[in-house]
């Protein structure tokens, strides 16, 4: 297993896209790890401040889109005096190959980390051939 990278402060990646959003505000691209096992492709993204009910995972035309909204009503009445990071909704898209079994995609959200498990279609899984 590769060693983890050093913890450091990074600015959030702002979304720069050709599609405009109707609601004004900056959107961020969550940091994510992508790894592959024999059975599935896993995408793990950090979206702090997003609750389960505010995550939207949609699949359309082979493009998987993940949206995470933050509830910024919590900031009401609070006056910032010192800030080091900004907040905003998260969004990220992935183009999936047809090797993914789209019916069985599952998602899990814990402590602001979303884990998407994209199981590989049966044909795409490595098969062990036993020597007779």
């Amino acid at each position: 297993m590769a060693t983890a990278q050093e913890l450091a402060v990074r600015d959030k990646k702002e979304l720069v896209s050709k599609d405009e959003k109707t609601v004004p505000g900056r959107y961020y691209v969550p940091f994510g790890d992508i790894y592959e096992t024999d059975e599935a492709l896993c995408v793990v993204m950090e979206m702090p401040g997003v609750e389960r009910k505010d995550v939207d995972v949609a699949l359309e035309n082979g493009v998987l889109r993940v949206d995470g909204r933050i509830d910024f009503a919590k900031y009401e009445g609070m006056e910032p005096v010192y800030t080091e990071y900004n907040v905003g909704h998260y969004t990220r898209s992935f183009t999936l190959s047809d090797k993914i079994d789209q019916e069985r995609i599952s998602a899990q959200l814990d402590d602001g980390v979303l884990t998407l498990t994209l199981p590989k279609a049966k044909e795409a899984q490595p098969r062990r051939i036993s020597i007779g």
Partner: protein
Amino acid sequence: MAIFADPFDALSSLQQALDTFRTSGWLASGPSGGGSYPPVNVFRKGDDFYIITEIPGVQKSELEVQVKGNTIRLAGNKSVSHPEKASLHRRERLAGRFDRAVTLPIEVDPDGVTAECRDGILALFLPRAESDKPRSIQVV
């Protein structure tokens, strides 16, 4: 400062307000344990203060929050794990130990400090010490 003047622009206004206070010299670089992770935002609500920070993936059991005088210490371990037989295609998440101390320019009542960690966000409520609260002066 009215942050939510226009509900449509609410998020945009909040983001602009957060940007404005990036260079604020409010927080002293205190006797920091090491490093500047995690990044913090400090808010004022009335006389009391809130420190909000984002620590996605950090379990409560791996988090330590301490208060001494007007210094707050946030320490812990952020771990990122992959299954044994996985091949990594992209790695953007960072992991490691963090230990950061921030010193506030106001007196905090240590008995009233509460910390809540949910969905990767740690929120500290820091009530101002009674002795430090500003007193209103009558103007005649």
